[in-house]
Amino acid sequence: MNNLTYTVIFYIFAAITVFSAAFVVLSRNVIYSAFSLLFTFFGVAALYVFLSADFIAVTQIVVYVGGILVLLLFGVMFTKSIMNPGLKSEVLHVIPGTVILAGIIGALLYTFYTTHTWMPSEKQLNGSIVERIGYETMSHYVLPFEMVSILLLAALIGAAFLARFDKPDNNKS
């Protein structure tokens, strides 16, 4: 698993993820940010495949790219005209934000690289884990699974209720 091709492909996907995430944050145009987020999600899905979590990678693509990103684009287009030249997002607190950005990344990297090396287990996850996810979902995680399904249903009904347009007979004022 440590051959050159594996390493090079990993670094390519890592670079795609990190640089497109930086572009999401640093771009002033909201549409550019949204489309750059697409590449970030794809890069993260590729990293999930490297982590032998293939099911999570497919879920990431289906839910994030197919659902959340489309929802974000709808949000952008609902709230601003797409032809509007003022489709910019203003910034504030840039200096404290940069300090926090550099501080968080620096502190985390310092901690990761100066503490002792990690001791991985002998039985790491390898190959496909779809079958094990099925077993776990139906044995240990039945109650969280059902609860999260009810939560998702309630959240979607609530979102549809919040975002509905007023009926004509409702706004008498």
Partner: protein, 105 residues
Amino acid sequence: MEHLVPIGLNHYLTISAFLLGFGLFAVMTRKNAIVVLMGVELILNAANINFLAFSKYNGGMGGVMFSLFVIVIAAAEAAIALAIVINIFKIFKSVDVSSIDTMKE
């Protein structure tokens, strides 16, 4: 190619630290509510990478299941947050989070 370090846990943690930092930066500095939401999604993705990396090198399934639930919660959060953003736009005619200064119409 012996001089290349084999891909290990630290590589994934580094990527995750970068995503967390960029997400926090977006949440702190942006005035557009939708870009703030994108920052939150970046932070959730960073957490997911950490869960899956530790789960792989630990050999357990806890991180994998938790990341699955995180994705579901992220979907619910995005739907609710965008509904709220659309309502804010209807009332204030902008999605600038620094100009929203009242909670009543």
